[in-house]
């Protein structure tokens, strides 16, 4: 079966039944998840400038722009909203495009709920931070403590910086000129590719990525902005359903890479 990032690797010492924090590591900055979270926070946060500037250029006032970053807090949906309005679309069309593009956050919510197991009211806060970057940071780690550190570092860091730089962009707006001149749209392309890259291990992830990319490009001219991404998600879902059924039929090699751990489960050994 695919060794997806969601599967905990036993050698990293995940401990079943122990979900509480064990305190911070001796040096927080030595945690790989914290490092990834901080780099993502800076990169994504800076990109907030381009959202703020584009929003101002599209005719949104300062507080409308800030409401989108503070409350909606999902880059793709925010760009979709202002993009539809800038293109002459109605408020209801902008809302629809934004909501459709945000559907994937529901999937991220499911994954983060299963991975981080938030207790009580924490899930209401964690939900607001369940976006592309936090999900990618957390699910890229194998150890539950690292997953939590990654999620919260990226989540809080991005929330603070994204809003700060949205404000800078909204205020600087016209002074900055065209954000494209600074290559900020190219930065977004690079960021999404960098999030995808570590997952492209083996033939099946590559096949999924290529098929979904092609499906997206084919869909773009025929459906409203935002929808091609959902088409790709549906294709990936069907792909996953079928490929899992295949592996159920015993096509995967029956090799145990940890023979000395025989008898332990994927959830980790005691």
């Amino acid at each position: 079966m695919l060794n997806l990032a969601m599967v905990r690797s036993p050698q990293l010492g995940s401990r079943p039944g122990l979900w509480l924090h064990e305190g911070m590591p001796p040096k927080l900055l030595e945690s790989p998840a914290v490092k990834v979270g901080l780099s993502l926070s800076i990169a994504t946060g800076l990109y907030g400038i381009s959202f703020g500037a584009l929003s101002a250029a599209s005719g949104f006032d300062f507080w409308q722009t800030m409401a989108l970053s503070l409350l909606l807090f999902s880059g793709g949906s925010q760009f979709a909203f202002i993009g539809v309005v800038a293109g002459g679309g109605s408020g209801v069309a902008a809302m629809t495009a934004s909501a459709l593009l945000g559907l994937r956050n529901g999937i991220y919510g499911m994954q983060m709920n299963a991975l981080l197991l938030p207790q009580g009211k924490l899930k209401y806060l964690q939900a607001q931070l369940s976006i592309d970057e936090t999900t990618a940071t957390a699910s890229g780690q194998s150890d539950p403590d690292e997953q939590r550190r990654g999620f919260w570092t990226a989540g809080i860091g991005i929330y603070v910086l994204w809003n700060l730089f949205t404000a800078v962009g909204a205020l600087a707006g016209n002074a900055l000129g065209d954000p494209k001149q600074w290559g900020l749209d190219g930065a977004a392309v690079a960021a999404f590719l960098a999030l995808l890259w570590p997952r492209l291990k083996g033939r099946e992830p590559w096949a999924i990525a290529v098929v979904c990319a092609v499906a997206t490009l084919l869909a773009v001219p025929f459906v409203p902005p935002g929808v091609p991404i959902l088409v790709a998600a549906a294709v990936a879902g069907v792909f996953g359903w079928l490929s899992h059924a295949r592996s159920d039929e015993g096509l995967e090699p029956d090799i145990d890479p940890y023979p000395h751990r025989r008898g332990t489960t994927e959830e980790g050994a005691e």
Partner: protein, 103 residues
């Protein structure tokens, strides 16, 4: 007409969507097939977001400086550059190509 109602409605929908994921029974996610599909969907969404940002311009496809960003980022990733460097390389490639008068 003011855009405020639609902005606030979009914000409510966005949060409700995120939160809805937390109320899907966890047992569903213990199912290996669900986990497998969650993994394939993540790859599909990221691949789709990459090409949408690289090639889509509204409802048409465009071939502009963003392709340079995509190619430069791929090279940087292949050379194992860290995330932030990849993003800067992408921005630099797009800005540089536009400076040269393309896209």
């Amino acid at each position: 007409m003011s855009l405020w109602p639609w902005i606030l409605a979009a914000c409510v929908l966005a949060y409700a969507t995120k939160l809805a994921g937390y109320f899907v029974p966890r047992s569903l996610l213990k199912n290996p097939r669900t986990m497998h599909i969650a993994g394939t969907m993540t790859i599909g969404l990221l691949a789709s977001l990459t090409v949408v940002n690289a090639f889509a311009s509204g409802q048409s496809l465009a071939f502009d400086a963003r392709i340079g960003a995509l190619a430069a980022a791929a090279v940087a990733l292949w050379l194992r550059a860290p995330f932030l460097v990849v993003v800067i390389v992408g921005a630099g490639a797009a800005a540089g190509l536009r400076l040269l008068g393309w896209g």
